[in-house]
């Protein structure tokens, strides 16, 4: 069942344009800061897609986590590296990567349009409550694993950015 009506269609095409153009901006921007700003627009566009696909909670989580946390973290990391390290140019692998990606895109689009997907006609958008129940019953083990992963990442990140002086202090004590 496709999305009926003018509104979703209009939103879809608008969001596609915004997302893809800003993703292109990430690729083309010479300044790393500009690339991050384009990336943020892409994140917001993807959140729009999530709303179109009737996953409001995920969309909001996308904005909170990606725009509010990950993008801000990236900005912070960029500011902590000096001005000279803020260019966003390509390595020699630019042209091969582009060729590979274009080939991959061609294959993917061919597959997408050639396959007869078994589309449903009776979609019922799950509520946040359903999602919460699923996470804490069916998927409780992955959920716990994800929380462990986050804790490990937190501690790992803190250990990584400690300065040598602090490590020396800890070794002495």
């Amino acid at each position: 069942m496709a999305l009926e009506g003018f509104g979703p269609a209009f939103a879809f095409w608008l969001l596609s344009a915004i997302t893809l153009i800003s993703a292109g901006g990430v690729m083309m921007a010479r300044n790393l800061l500009h690339a991050v700003l384009f990336l943020i627009v892409t994140f917001i566009g993807v959140a729009g897609f999530f709303i179109l696909l009737s996953a409001e909670f995920i969309a909001m989580a996308q904005v909170v986590i990606y725009v509010g946390a990950v993008a801000v973290l990236i900005l912070f990391a960029i500011l902590l590296t000096p001005r000279s390290a803020r260019d966003n140019s390509e390595t020699v692998w630019g042209a091969p990567a582009a060729l590979l990606s274009i080939a991959l895109a061609a294959v993917l689009i061919f597959v997408i349009h050639d396959t007869a997907w078994s589309e449903t006609n009776s979609f019922q958008a799950p509520s946040v409550e359903d999602l919460g129940r699923a996470l804490l019953s069916t998927w409780v083990l992955p959920f716990q694993l994800a929380s462990v992963l986050l804790t490990a990442a937190l501690i790992g990140a803190i250990m990584l950015v400690r300065s040598p002086e602090e490590e020396a202090e800890d070794a002495l004590s």
Binding site: A2, L3, G5, A9, W13, S16, L20, L32, A35, L39, T42, F43, V46, F49, F50, L53, S54, A55, I58, Q62, I65, Y66, A69, V70, I74, F76, A77, L80, T81, A85, R86, N88, S89, E90, T91, W93, G94, P96, A97, L100, I102, A105, L108, I109, H113, W117, S118, E119, T120, F123, P126, A134, W139, P142, L149, L150, A152, A153, L160, V161
Partner: protein, 104 residues
């Protein structure tokens, strides 16, 4: 034209390929990370598109998957940026081509 599954999948694929170009070709470690984030987002769009448009025995599975992907992506971003900052501190560069300590 009403958007259906094909359209969402196409957008996801294009986004993925753009992310791939960025991840493969950028000189800066943080730029590479941004490419990876783009690819993860493309995957999320695809997952939710399937969740929305296809038959499933478990109707929340698609959203659950996306939650896990976002979680892992956040953890990955934190560690990767910590690596970049830490690496810059030790080697004064974030150029991925010059991260070659293991090369003799």
């Amino acid at each position: 034209m009403t958007p259906g599954l094909d359209h969402f999948l196409t957008v996801g694929a294009l986004l993925f390929c753009l992310g791939l170009i960025v991840a493969l070709s950028k000189r800066n470690a943080i730029g590479v990370l941004m490419g990876i984030e783009l690819m993860l987002n493309a995957v999320n769009v695809t997952l939710l598109a399937f969740h929305r448009f296809t038959e499933s025995a478990n109707p929340v599975a698609g959203q659950t998957f996306v939650v896990f992907v976002i979680t892992v992506a956040a953890a990955e971003a934190a560690v990767a940026l910590a690596l970049a900052v830490s690496f810059y501190r030790n080697r004064e560069t974030v150029d991925v081509d010059r991260i070659n300590l293991l090369r003799s």
